[in-house]
């Protein structure tokens, strides 16, 4: 994975603040920061070309892809990973990126995506439906061992069966963090229309008013006679 790392050319950011960041965005440059990588290395403010960054991110398994940052005008290169990213919720335009420097000999804690394959027996033959409860897992491994995704085959699951984290086998190099009892996928029965609503929220007949919590009123009533007495 590290050998084929893509290279992204970045520039040092000279200005900081909201207005400067917006001016960079207008020029198709994304404000970014790089940090981590052991003691003695200082964080640095950067700007990244938007299109080049979006291309890397939109590739499959982008969350944990490691690539190189090259500082423009120098030969300095660093293996990095995206630690955090701000994206506009409607337009999906990148607002800001956090890069973290990667040390190839140090283990990382990352979130790996779960890739579900197969159709469970319980869905095929027994009329159930597959409920995927966990979509990603925290794992610990060396940068070279980062899996693109965790492949999980659910084809053996019958009705009311669950697949748990403890059932996964990822090899010796990858350690799963967290509880082994956590459910990844479950085959259940789809409830009828009415029961599905009951499970989601309290339901009241139309036109009725809910109960008003009277705590505030009691306090007011208790205070009111005192005022009258003063008069």
């Amino acid at each position: 994975m590290l050998k084929e790392a893509a290279v992204l050319e970045v520039e040092r950011r000279q200005q900081s603040g909201k207005n400067a960041a917006n001016r960079y965005r207008d020029r198709d440059l994304i404000p970014a920061v790089i940090y981590g990588g052991g003691a003695g290395l200082e964080p640095m403010s950067l700007v990244v070309p938007r299109k080049a960054l979006a291309t890397i991110i939109n590739q499959k398994g982008h969350e944990n892809s490691i690539f190189k940052l090259r500082l423009k005008g120098t030969d300095q290169e660093r293996h990095v990973m995206i630690r955090d990213m701000s994206v506009h919720p409607v337009s999906r335009r990148i607002q800001h990126v956090d890069f973290v420097r990667i040390l190839t000999d140090r283990k990382l804690k990352i979130r790996a995506r779960i890739d579900i394959t197969g159709i469970p027996k319980g869905v095929k033959n027994q009329g159930g439906f597959l409920n995927v409860v966990t979509h990603d897992l925290m794992i610990e491994c060396l940068p070279a061992d980062i899996p693109e995704s965790i492949h999980v085959d659910v084809s053996e699951l019958a009705l009311h069966d669950s697949l748990r984290v403890s059932d996964l086998k990822l090899g010796e190099n990858v350690k799963i963090l967290g509880s082994g009892g956590r459910v990844i996928a479950h085959v259940g029965i789809s409830k009828g229309e009415e029961s599905a609503v009951a499970a989601t929220a309290p339901v009241a007949p139309a036109g009725t008013e809910p109960e008003v919590i009277k705590k505030g009123k009691k306090e007011e009533e208790a205070k009111a006679p005192e005022k009258k007495e003063k008069k």
Binding site: R50, A54, I57, N58, M85, V87, H88, P89, V90, S91, R92, R93, I94, G127, F129, L130, N131, V132, H135, G188, S190, G192, E193, A196, V197, T200, A201, P202, V203, A204, P205, A206, E209, P210, E211, V212, I213, G216
Partner: protein, 141 residues
């Protein structure tokens, strides 16, 4: 229809809907969702109509999540009433929707069925919405 079981105050002020939804804008339960593209009030009646339309289309397959809750009371004055004399009586409940908010999520159905079901729900909801998948919500520009 959905409404709170207990409230602290019977009536609320109108409020403003500035900005975009930050919470409730990413898929938490299902694989497909209906995402609001503009702000507005979604009444309990509209939500219920949308839910019924989706569940009738997918029949017994799949699981549906309603990601919004109508917890804001709306009042109305009676017809042919002179202005003044206080705020009107509570008439219904609405959910305040901002752009990017997910309204429904579904799991356990294929994309085509989900798209058709949400298409029916879109007609029942008075605000502009779009169909989104996990890939759409994870992609960037």
């Amino acid at each position: 229809m959905l409404m709170p079981s207990k409230v602290k105050y019977r009536k609320q002020q109108k409020g403003r809907r500035r900005g975009t939804a930050l919470r409730g804008s990413s898929l938490a339960f299902g694989d497909f969702a209906l995402q609001a593209m503009e702000c507005g009030w979604l009444t309990a009646r509209q939500l219920e109509a949308g839910r019924v339309a989706i569940q009738r289309h997918v029949k017994r397959g799949g699981k549906l999540w309603i990601r919004v809750f109508p917890d804001k009371p709306i009042t109305k004055k009676p017809a042919e009433t002179r202005m003044g004399k206080g705020k009107g009586a509570p008439e219904g409940w609405v959910a305040v929707i901002k752009p990017a908010r997910l309204i429904f999520e579904i799991e356990g159905v294929d994309e085509k069925t989900a798209r058709e079901a949400f298409g029916l729900a879109q007609d029942k909801i008075g605000i502009k919405t779009r169909f989104v998948t996990r890939e759409v919500l994870e992609s960037v520009r």
